[in-house]
Amino acid sequence: MSITYKVRQLFDDGYSFNQRKLIESHCASLSYFMSDNELFNFLFTDDAFTELRNKIKEEDAKLLTRSDLYDSVKATKQIEKLPFYSFVTSISKVSTDDFSVAKTLQLNVLVAAYELKKLVGYEDYIARALDATRIIFTTNKYQSVLGLLKSHETYTGKYFIEIRDQCNLAPHHLTALASLFGKYSAKLPSINKRTRVVQPKAVTPDKKPNYTNKESVVPFEDDEPKYTEILATEDIVTSNNGDHLEKITDEKTATCYLEFSLIAPDEVEKSARLQAQMANSIAANIERREKSLTTEFRFLTQREVKILVEECMRNIDDPHFGLLLLSLITGRTISEFLGNEVVMTKAEKGKLSDHFVIRYKPSLPEYEIIEKARTLLNQPIGEVLLILPQCMNSVISNIIRLNLAIDSTKQAISDCISLMNKRHCTRFTLAKISSVMSFYLIKAGADAAEIALMKGSAVEQHASCYYYQVPVQKLIDLHQGFLLYLDSNRKYDLSDFRKKTDLTVGSALQLQEDTAKKLFTVLYKKLLKKRQMGWENIELLHNYFTVYTLFILNLSTGHRPVKHPYHTIDSFDLESSTVFLADKESRSNSAGRVLKLPSLAKEQLSHYLSHLRHIHHYFVQLSSQDGKYITDILEGVLPLFSFIQDNQFQTITPKLLDDFCVDLLPIPLNWNRHFIRTWLRDNNVKPGSVDAFMGHVNGDGDPFSRYSGVSMKDLDEVARFLNQLLSKNLEIKPFSSVEGLRL
């Protein structure tokens, strides 16, 4: 690249031919007058100065001394229009004594500007430095600044700031020069300007761009150090790839910062540093979420809880303290008690006759099921019971009898709290007191459904409540555990209920485990029989086989009954035993989830695929259309599961499956979700994993969102549990049609 081209490339257009030629001559002259030791530690990348020296003629160098050039620019008021030209020609105004220093300064400004010009975002620095140099050269009172400069000094930002502090002259202009050299002298920048070629090329939704690290699209000169930067393959950031870019940036922040810190000027470093800080803050946020279980700021400390219980028990005859204690041990607010939204009753006889109890029947959906089929289900028989300690019997009776006014009582209770806070340096509030139970329950491993049922609030808003049939005893045990936590020294005997109950509450669509086991046994026998009956019964065999496989997969994944369940074969990855489910039709594919498959389900799916290949051989001889249909299923073009009815393949829909199940199990098709949700919790699988598995949003947010703490390992554990359910509890055997059906 010639120096002429470089200079042309350097600064703005708008010069006439003569002016440009003049500028080139000036640049050449500057370099001609310079000796090597007058240049500080920079290097033009291609020996431009050597090249210039060889070409320059002596007479051209004299141009530098022509003062009329600058005068004419000034007279025609073109300084603003031609800043670089003015900068170059302004040296003629410098006195002879300072000419040598001025040359050095001008050349170094030129070089710094030349290098920074290659980067985006330094235009203002360059313009200000050129102006500053010109003004220093052309203003008499500022020329004394040149006397302070040394010809052989390495110019840095710091150097010019020191000069500014020494002379108190032209501070703005020296600051401008300091900024320019500050940016430049950090190190010789070697980043090429990003020149993106905008191509109107749309990214197709199904084709995700590849964001792996790749070499920059900007060509490097041979002798320039190369570096790797992250660029999307597709040049345009669209709504389709925006998320992915963001994700990649998120993941790569630390690396970028490392790379930039070695080579980039301050501004770039600062930007990268900010990104790194943001990444750290996100990481800290994740950590805080994880820790929120125990360190949530609304959670009272153990000391505070102890003080509260002691204060309440000391004043237990006072209804205000009684209400505070009730709020603490039931997780209800004072307003709920005063507004009679919480009913406390005491039975006259029976197991609960010694205690006041809060009874609560959650309003969950009833299902329209034929009477015969109801006998196969476990119906919820009971209600949520929150058993209050016996020591509170008298105060509860008082509260009920007194029927306290809401406003005045709340005021009185607030006064009590203020007093306690003053006395004990605590931070009690009504909200904090009623939240203690929830936080304890989360810590104790209770899931969102159990907490919602115990608190009795917004059960309908928790999807998990619909699918979970909870033993009331489990809720009682959790509550008694909480009371024991409040009274850890057993001073007040708050946890005083020891009796057992078999009641259950929650989902009304719980298939009995024995029935589920029998269902698979009967289906298996039916399949064996159909297989024996041979090809004449292939349609029935195929339909039962499909249902058998679907039921096993549904129990392994909690798939919702939707059109085209599991979509195509491409939803499965049998290598890694994973499946992608997008069964929330109303929420699009973004609501999908990836789950691990239990090994038994994987084996059954393999049998199903072999079955399809096997019957393909048969059907292709009968009809090429049917043969193609099966080929398309196996190639992932058509939905994976289908029935054969009246010699035609029909993809599965809820209606079709429902009709088929009339003679099989005439209950709502999502019975599998109720069954496994309850089974997993009965077997103490972690609440977060269960919610992730079911595709439910819990208190911590969407299980597969960016900040979710749920990982594939958790789902692996769920898959192992489910494999145990399928193979041991339900004794399901994988079925293969190939062994019995001869071609």
């Binding site: 039916k526 051989h617 001889q621 009968l622 090429s624 003679d663 199990l665 001869r742 071609l743």
Partner: protein
């Protein structure tokens, strides 16, 4: 009839060959007949190059009998035994006898006739009588007289007795066994309720 057919070699990859609608019942029934030799196993995943050659040569001397419906479209109604193994082993060149017109051809009769002739000798001994009973019951009554000829009887047991020379008791037992396999069982739901 001799002038109405041609021996041809076709490539399966270029033709659409499938069962003739009138021959589908016989074809389906043929799939359920258990023979002594389980060629399914032999020509399964572990088939060798020799097996492929064996199948190809056998198919060439036992061609598929087809009628051409339109260019590149064949409907077979007889001679499918070796054809199916060609499909299984990926043999692309097969031999066919192509009928030019369907005039005067009873495809259904040919298909059942093929089945009767094919399986006279090689049914599994243990189940052959029951399979014979099934086969004779499956033949459409309009064709029975023609196909069974001197062995014809309204009763499938008697027909089997005449054809195979078995005792009356054996034929009766076979018929009973055959009937048992077709008995409808309770639905899954009924069984769950028990």
């Amino acid at each position: 009839m001799k002038t109405n057919r041609t021996l041809k070699n076709i490539k399966l990859s270029r033709c659409n060959v499938q069962c003739h609608d009138d021959a589908k019942n016989a074809f389906r029934h043929s799939k359920n007949i258990k023979t002594y030799a389980d060629l399914n196993k032999r020509f399964g995943a572990s088939a060798t190059a020799e097996d492929v050659e064996f199948v190809r040569e056998n198919q060439q001397i036992n061609p598929l009998i087809c009628i051409k419906t339109r260019a590149g479209n064949m409907r077979f109604f007889s001679g499918w035994r070796w054809y199916q193994y060609c499909l299984l082993l990926g043999v692309d060149d097969i031999e066919i006898i192509e009928f030019r017109t369907s005039e005067g051809i009873n495809f259904e009769k040919y298909s059942w006739q093929y089945l009767l002739s094919e399986h006279v000798f090689d049914m599994q001994k243990a189940e052959s009588l029951a399979q014979w009973v099934n086969l004779i019951e499956a033949i459409p009554s309009s064709l029975k007289h023609q196909l069974l000829s001197s062995s014809y009887s309204r009763s499938s047991q008697v027909a089997v007795q005449k054809m195979t020379g078995c005792t009356r008791e054996a034929a009766r037992w076979a018929a009973k066994k055959s009937a048992e396999s077709g008995v409808q069982t309770d639905s899954v739901f009924e069984q769950l309720l028990r």
